[in-house]
């Protein structure tokens, strides 16, 4: 197997709040290999977005900080890199797109203007070169009549088109890694289908790795090769997609999968549920964080924290669902 592009080890991210310090991400480790698509899945508050932001040094500090761990990328540790170093990496080697493209784009500049910024900074292009390049990129992400659109403002575009503009900006410097944080959550299903198809196509063209952060297991199943399921700041399970969906080992993954309403002939009266709710990050249990909601919990789960194995398919669980 090739060398990993990104190697995250024991990452911990903390935030100071008025009630005390919370560890939003606690001991997360994973590798991302070139040209693969990896899903980072979980429900709100599980730490998936914060993990994504930390890879680009975008954790707001204060109140946040990377409290421990390393993020190796291209021979550097991004967890300790200076702002100056990070700035050369952002947008050129690692890019990020966000859930709400309206707030991520600047409303008072034209699309072309904002794209030219990126190109001028990282590629040193002149204004007219940058404009030509911007038009070409807009065409590649499937924006109709890009030469006209380049002079428009974000509010003149629909939600799907704005997300395409974000993708065009993110890819304009040919990054090796794209972090996509809920890129289609704000979009309608038909538009989501268009945008996901575009991301898949571009990934092959640009030969980049993609980390897809989402709560939607359907999106993960259709776009990713591997996924990490996060719960309460930790990785509960990681596995190749087929395995994860066919044989989830962690009870949380299994519960999550069975609680999604699906289109099917025999409609059950009740959906299976995961009882209870996510523990408060300020008052975490001593043992496994899922134990209080888990049907398979043992005595041991109340006192000891399970570790995620090193294997490509592993679950952080003392009593995993049998295969």
């Amino acid at each position: 197997m090739a060398e990993p592009l990104l190697r995250v080890r024991d990452l911990a991210i903390e935030f100071d709040t008025q009630y005390g310090t919370v560890r939003a991400v606690d001991g997360v480790s994973f590798d991302i290999y070139p040209e693969e698509t990896v899903g980072l899945v979980g429900e709100s508050g599980c730490g998936k977005t914060v993990t994504g932001l930390s890879l680009l040094g975008l954790i707001p500090k204060p109140p946040g900080r990377i409290a421990a761990g390393s993020i190796e990328f291209g021979g550097r540790d991004l967890a300790t890199a200076s702002e100056e170093e990070l700035r050369t990496i952002r947008g050129s080697e690692i890019s990020m797109i966000f859930q709400e493209p309206m707030t991520a784009l600047n409303p008072v500049f034209t699309i072309g203007n904002q794209m030219a910024d990126v190109l001028a900074r990282h590629k040193g292009l002149t204004d007219s070169q940058a404009r030509t390049e911007a038009i070409e990129m807009l065409g590649r992400v499937g924006i109709p009549s890009p030469a006209r659109r380049v002079d428009e403002y974000p509010h003149q575009l629909s939600g799907g088109q704005r997300q395409r503009v974000m993708i065009a900006m993110a890819l304009s410097c040919n990054p090796k890694l794209l972090i996509a944080d809920e890129p289609t959550t704000a979009l309608d299903v038909t538009t989501q289908a268009q945008v996901l198809e575009q991301i898949n196509k571009l990934q092959e063209e640009f030969r980049m790795a993609v980390i897809l952060i989402t709560h939607d297991l359907g999106v993960v199943a259709e776009t990713c090769q591997r996924a990490l399921v996060m719960y309460c700041g930790k990785v509960a399970e990681q596995a190749p997609i087929e395995e994860l969906f066919a044989q989830p080992r962690h009870p949380y993954t299994a519960g999550l999968l069975s609680s999604i309403p699906r289109i099917r002939e025999d409609r059950p009266e009740h959906l299976p549920i995961i009882a209870g709710r996510v523990p408060d990050l300020l008052h975490l249990p001593a043992g496994c964080r899922f134990a209080a909601r888990c049907e398979r919990a043992l005595d041991r789960c109340q006192t000891e924290q399970p570790e995620l194995g090193e294997k490509t398919a592993s679950a952080a669980c003392f009593n995993p669902v049998p295969v």
Partner: protein, 325 residues
Amino acid sequence: MSSPLLQVEELRKYFPIRGGLLRGVKAQVKAVDGVSLVLQPGQTYGLVGESGCGKSTLGRSIIRLYEPTAGKVMLDGADITHLSRNEMLPYRERMQMIFQDPYASLSPRRTVSQTLREPLDIHNKGDRDTRDKRVRELLDVVGMSQRALNRYPHEFSGGQRQRIGIARALALNPRLIIADEPVSALDVSVQSQVLNLVADLQREHGIAFLFIAHDLAVIQHVSDRIGVMYLGKIVEATDSQTLYAHPKHPYTRALLSAIPLPEPGRKRSRIVLGGDVPSPANPPGGCPFHPRCPDAMDRCRTEIPAPRELGTPAAPHEVSCHLYD
């Protein structure tokens, strides 16, 4: 067959776009443009469509949070479209609403007990003690602890807030609840808890639901009948099984094929639609779907398709599409 609980006939809601020197009406946004539907007691009618299709406006026009521009809304056989505020009061008792955003739809300054009492006070239900008792009962019904009574909305999670919103809607024993995207702001594991609660309430209290959502899987899970909306019109309506097994309208087919399924490796022929939903202020001529329709013909560009009945009287299946002439 029993008489319908809710009957909507050719309902329209236009919003004026004003502009110019005298703030004259320049154009109309036809958010709901001639919608008819029938809901039987104790049943669920699912309204599904993408953002801007008019599904929320339709729900709000039925309950008269918006004044309909034209058409008729009948509850229990009585025309409630033009009733005054006071005349409307007895009907509001039978018809309640649950909103999408449980953060915005509960007053942050009121305790749970105050919120739940309000409908009882307005409608003058019983004395002080019976109201207190009812409030406690409501918390039980939605599966919340009595400790919630004197707490404020910000102290609860999204799923719990949605339960409070449901409890409020139940306070007056309504026969119809209009639920506008009640689970779309919730996480999957919480969503299934709330959907199960809705199913229990329906079974135990015989409440009918008009369930509005953009998620086709959720809609299929809860609905007996489903109407698919596009640009202010219902383009296809039939029972839940038929819609998913034999979708007829090209838009319904595209919508169904676009859902990402949590089943990796299952290959489907996906119909990816080009373009975006047109603005309802400036809808295309002819069939509103024709610019994105993979099956569009010449006449679709000029002629608006009328609803056609493709089913049987026992299992109606209405489709507005020229393909089925």
